[in-house]
């Protein structure tokens, strides 16, 4: 399963345990070095889609300072998907980063 960058970092942010919406967005931004910035609406759509795919699931709801927070946790399928994507990215990176013999250029 190919993961979009946003989905990849959302799943990665949940590897250490359940998080609520804003915490997921903040962690994904942190993990991606500021590359992935999710608004609340975008994150909601992504979580709903990934929930439908069985990658994440509802954990619990809490009200903190009058604000409702819904926690999500990663599923086994989600963990497999994000790990497989990490392996694929690592393999793709190795192709570019491996040391190469210098290429002698012939001149006419």
């Amino acid at each position: 399963m190919d993961l979009r960058p946003a989905s990849y970092f959302v799943l990665a942010s949940l590897l250490d345990g359940p998080l609520h919406g804003y915490a997921i967005a903040a962690r994904a931004e942190d993990l991606s070095g500021g590359e992935v910035r999710l608004t609340a609406g975008t994150l909601y759509g992504a979580l709903e889609r990934m929930s439908g795919q069985g990658l994440v699931e509802f954990d619990r709801e809490e009200t903190v300072d009058g604000r409702l927070r819904r926690y999500y946790r990663i599923t086994g399928a989600g963990r497999e998907a994000v790990t497989a994507e990490a392996d694929r990215l690592a393999a793709a990176a190795r192709v570019v980063q491996r040391p190469r013999p210098s290429v002698a250029r012939s001149t006419a």
């Binding site: 804003y22 975008t42 927070r69």
Partner: protein, 351 residues
């Protein structure tokens, strides 16, 4: 404090885009956006607020599509045969009685009137194939002029027997006739008939036509046709003589005149059906869906009647009403069919 109030107000407004059945989701997304605005400052407010609004609209669209797909369309179609057949018979009676004056009646009119009458009988009996075949006969006869077939053997090549300036009843009847044919197939294969029920439905189906005949009869004597005969000028003369006027038999073509009485009654019936089915949508969603289907099928003539040739954008009136009825009925049907109340407390992502 003011900043926080502003944030709360605009995000609350944006969260209103979530449908009532997903208000809890809206609250979760809104509170997430408030956290983000608190962390990033007011510069994030526009972005976060818009994202909440669009998320709500996306959910609303998804919920609507889901509910409309699962709406009781078959039950809606099943309530249509009797009113549609009754309306078609009434319409063709209005077309036939005032103008037609030569016998025997051509096969076009036999199909239009006979087909409509048989459709009413079929609807009273809830006999699906009788309605289906009758509706197809009406559809073929009403559509024939538009493909140059005329309405009877003697009138072949008549492009259209409907006046172009008014509401074209022939064209207006095509979609309802098609809808009648489709609705016949939604009826149960083995209806539970009783003599009383059939009789009641037959009376109900024939009542509009009975009232129409009461209005139309006795009809005035048809106007005679004025014939202008132009003689060629005599050889070598450039003088053009006046035409000779004579009166012939009444106009023999089955031209349909726009009837204010008919259109008024049909319009009132549509409005009454729309209002009543809107109010009863929670209890009988199939009635609202059926009204919506009829509104769509007559949207073009309704728009024409509203503003002559400027069909666009007036066609949005019947189509908008049909959409509103459909959504209301579909949501009501979904609510009533759900084993548990719609998940206002159940998180979307847990489903």
């Amino acid at each position: 404090m003011t900043r926080r109030r502003l944030t709360d107000a605009v995000t609350a407004l944006a969260a209103q885009t979530f449908p009532p059945s997903r208000r809890t989701d809206g609250r979760v997304v809104r509170d997430c956006a408030r956290d983000a605005i608190d962390a990033a400052g007011l510069r994030a407010m526009t972005r976060e607020t818009l994202s909440v609004a669009f998320a709500g609209l996306r959910v609303r669209y998804g919920v609507s599509v889901h509910d409309v797909r699962r709406a009781p369309w078959r039950r809606a179609l099943a309530v249509l045969p009797l009113p549609l057949a009754a309306a078609l018979l009434c319409v063709w009676t209005f077309g036939f009685v005032p103008r037609y004056d030569h016998w025997p009646v051509g096969e076009g009119w036999v199909m239009l009137l006979g087909g409509s009458l048989l459709a009413v009988v079929g609807a009273a009996l809830e006999a699906r194939w009788l309605i289906f075949v009758s509706a197809l006969a009406v559809l073929a006869a009403a559509g024939a002029p538009y493909v140059g077939r005329g309405t009877e053997a003697a009138l072949n090549d008549t492009a259209s027997f409907f006046p172009a300036s008014g509401v074209d009843l022939g064209a207006a009847s095509l979609l309802p006739a098609l809808l009648l044919a489709g609705s016949a197939l939604a009826l149960p294969r083995r209806p539970q008939r009783s003599a009383r029920r059939v009789a009641d439905r037959l009376v109900l189906g024939l009542l509009p036509t009975g009232l129409a005949l009461f209005h139309l009869l006795p009809r005035p004597t048809p106007e005679q046709t004025m014939i202008f005969t132009h003689e060629a000028p005599p050889e070598g003369s450039r003088t053009i003589t006046d035409p000779t006027v004579s009166f012939g038999a009444p106009y023999p073509f089955p031209e349909l005149q726009e009837s204010g009485a008919l259109l008024g009654v049909l319009g009132i019936a549509l409005v009454v059906a729309a209002v009543l089915s809107w109010r009863a949508a929670a209890r009988r969603p199939e009635a609202a869906l059926a009204t919506a289907l009829v509104l769509v099928s007559v949207a073009h003539p309704v728009a024409w009647k509203l503003h002559g040739y400027a069909v666009w954008p007036h066609i949005l009136v019947p189509l908008g009403a049909a959409t509103a009825l459909t959504l209301r009925a579909a949501h009501a049907a979904h609510r009533s069919s759900s084993a548990t109340p719609a998940s206002s407390s159940e998180p979307a992502a847990s489903r």
